[in-house]
Amino acid sequence: MSTASANVIPERNYLNDPKGLKSWLLTKDHKRIGLMYLFAIMFFFLLGGIFALLIRWELLTPAVDIMEHDTYNKMFTLHGAVMIFLFIIPSIPAALGNFVLPLMLGAKDVAFPRLNLASWYVYCLGALFMIYALVTNPADTGWTFYTPYSTQTNTAVISTTLGVFILGFSSIFTGLNFIVTIHKLRAPGMTWFRMPLFAWGTYATAILQVLATPVIGITFVLLIMERLLGIGIFDPALGGDPVLYQHFFWFYSHPAVYIMILPGMAIISETVSVFSHKKIFGYKLIAFSSLGIAFVSFLVWGHHMFTSGQSELAAIMFSFLTFLVGIPSGIKVFNWLATMYRGSISLEAPMLYTLSFLILFTIGGITGIFLGALAIDIHVHDTYFVVAHFHYVMMGGTVMAFLAGIHYWWPKIWGRMYNEFWAKIACALIFIGFNMTFFTQFIMGTQGMPRRYFTYLEQYQPMHGFSSIGAFVIGAGFVIMAVYLIAAIFKGRPAGNNPWGSLSFEWLTSSPPPHGNFDEEPVLEHGPYDYDTIEVVATK
């Protein structure tokens, strides 16, 4: 740990070679594209976070605190749409995955570098449509755009959904690129079962991105045509069926939940092994369960619609399939725990986020079991219980994993370490604030508090108030994080090639890596988790 003085930042690395704005805007380097994605998604994470705080502020009391009904309705729509489509879906694959995956595989770049750059520009174009909607007349439909409300409201549904339609292409481009990269660009000696599990998780995600995303594209095109031309697919006034929209929407959006969580699981499989300094437990089971989850995720969309009036038989089958998808997720949690057993555990920031993930994601998963049980779902459907459940999975799961990944790879991306003390403080604040905010919402939900309510009955006020305070504690954690992460870029101590003592390829090369990733093509000599046979020394 005290060898830091020997570390230097390499003179020429991907950040400064070549120089100039044009070299960035026209770059085909996956690391630069990953970084450009990272800036873009962090901007939208900030925006979505501000919306979240405004919502929680308004909900402090049932009265009008800072906004009116209609503003509130736009606000929760914006929070959902920005966080889902502009932040969380591209967060791990397009930002971190782009940076890390080729390095991990020992490749010089992704298979289609131009397509990769195109995906970033397509993302920006989609984002522009959504920003246009945001500054003109934001949609007030909720991020789900349920018909016939969305075909009748006079807000900017068309530009928002057109934005999502365009964003879908960037997601497909990234997925396609990763599939081919994983098939074709692995270093010599890296067989499928010697790949890091991050690559397996990304692979399962990429398949979902390519297969599921077109469905949301088609659905939104139909919705736009309905609004523009009145074709009568969804709106009963025109002879359509509004529940058909829900089937289409969730046929994409349920797999999309796994587009969001699988990459999170992929990161945890890395960090739990590295920071336990221990061979990952049940490698093949983790790898195959990712593919299994991806497959079954196409067959459970109807569990979003238990109260929609779909047939009882369909509801029963969807309930059964939902429980099937729960089992591989549970097995993964046990595997990660078993990995820690007899390890050499270091509680640095990435591991703290990993442990937060393990606890919060388990709660998120268990509450999914409540929701999968038909009779209970009827009671808690569309209440705060569901809001709490998906925040435990999406924020407690994916975002915690994303933060574990950010803290794990930050030294590789910038070549410098962040302040570990403040990182621990921020993690503690986020963990505590998160539970204050969202655990309370489970109780509110079972007590019957419906979601998407601008005002509420007095009986729910204490819980709403507590939840709102928690949200601001989370906010404080993120402000601290922003400060020390940005400070690290400029003033951090040089990290060296391998600050954590990891065995996968990305830590062989310098930090930050050179333009072509490796000075000479790496050859796989040991597995990514062989902490039982390979001595490795951390350079931090």
């Binding site: 309705n73 089992i327 820690m340 268990i366 569309d382």
Partner: protein, 336 residues
């Protein structure tokens, strides 16, 4: 009515609530055990295997067939039990008893209305007898709503293009919240009604009284009651504050200007027309969002609403002998 409320669940007042809660607590305690195990393992491992000094080489075991089978099979059995239990309770929630009385429920932005077989209709308050199965035939006049009574553990979406069905049998008298749980626009969060469960005898009395004003009640006072119970209050204030729609205060006898540029003096006929054909004339500056009340109010009730709005005029006409004067506003009793 808070009797029986627990930390997790609101008090159960229907025949199915017990089934739902039993399953809830089964999953809850199973989860508690699992969470305790996971948390204990994490805490134990980070204390026992905390890195001290160099990491060195670690244990190479990454596989244990017996252990892996155990932690696959036990959760699988548990979730199958939960599935079967949830399925069974779901059937109870869905199979309507043959002797159920039937009530039509209509959701529209942003209130509920109920049509009884006896030809009575009511808004935002569903009065039902206890210990009698009630079948609800739900439909919507505009977008999707959802009918949710937490105390009964029932919820069903309300669709514009087909009927959906829900049923319950209330076990205790009292007044219970009815929420809309499918987002439906501006005042979604105020689309709240009540389900009032009364004894069989009280229910019969209520049916009789539902047809007109009670003994000795003035027409304007009955109108004030309808103003609350038929949800006019959702959009029209009586204190002069403009909301989604014009306030009723001081409109009678005044000039009203419309979107098409025309204007007239507000009189009895205009009020009647606005209730029955609200889209005929739209007051300048407002959206045409009011639904028609055609068929939902009888003549006595229409007269009562007209009399009530008249009583809120700046110079209430005295010749009619109405005593519903503006001073009584502060003592108005709301329904809930």
């Amino acid at each position: 009515m808070d009797n029986g409320q627990t930390f997790w669940m609101p008090a159960g007042h229907s025949t199915v609530a017990g089934d739902v809660d039993a399953l809830f607590y089964f999953i809850f305690y199973a989860s508690l055990v699992l969470m305790a195990l996971v948390t204990a393992a994490i805490v134990w491992f980070i204390i026992k295997y905390r890195r001290r000094g160099k990491a060195g080489l670690t244990d190479s075991r990454a596989h244990n067939t017996a252990l892996e089978i155990t932690w696959t099979v036990i959760p699988t059995i548990l979730v199958f039990i939960i599935f079967a239990w949830g399925f069974k309770a779901y059937l109870r929630l869905n199979v309507v008893p043959a002797n159920a009385m039937e009530i039509n429920v209509t959701g529209q932005r942003w209130f509920w209305s109920f049509q009884y077989p006896e030809g009575i209709s009511a808004v935002n308050e569903l009065v039902v007898p206890e210990d009698k199965p009630v079948k609800l035939l739900l439909s919507s006049k505009d977008v999707i709503h959802s009918f949710y009574v937490p105390n009964f553990r029932i919820k069903m979406d309300v669709l514009p293009n087909r009927y959906t069905v829900a049923w319950f049998e209330a076990t205790d008298t009292g007044s219970y919240n009815l929420f809309c749980t499918e987002y439906c626009g501006t005042k979604h969060s105020e689309m709240i009604g009540k389900v009032k469960v009364v004894t069989q005898g009280e229910y019969q009395k209520w049916l009789e009284a539902a047809q007109g004003p009670s003994e000795g009640q003035s027409l304007a006072d009955y109108g004030r009651q309808l103003y609350q119970s038929r949800a006019c209050v959702t959009c029209h204030s009586i204190d002069g504050k403009p909301g989604t729609a014009p306030s009723f205060l001081h409109i009678f006898g005044e000039q009203a200007t419309f979107e098409d540029g025309t204007s007239l003096v507000v009189d009895e006929n205009y009020i009647r027309e606005s209730i029955l054909e609200p889209r005929a004339r739209i007051v300048k500056g407002y959206q045409p969002v009011m639904p028609t009340f055609q068929g939902m109010l009888n003549d006595v009730q229409l007269n009562a609403l007209v009399a009530f709005i008249k009583s809120l005029a700046e110079h209430p006409p005295t010749e009619s002998g109405d005593q519903g004067d503006a001073n009584r506003e502060s003592t108005t009793e709301s329904e809930n």
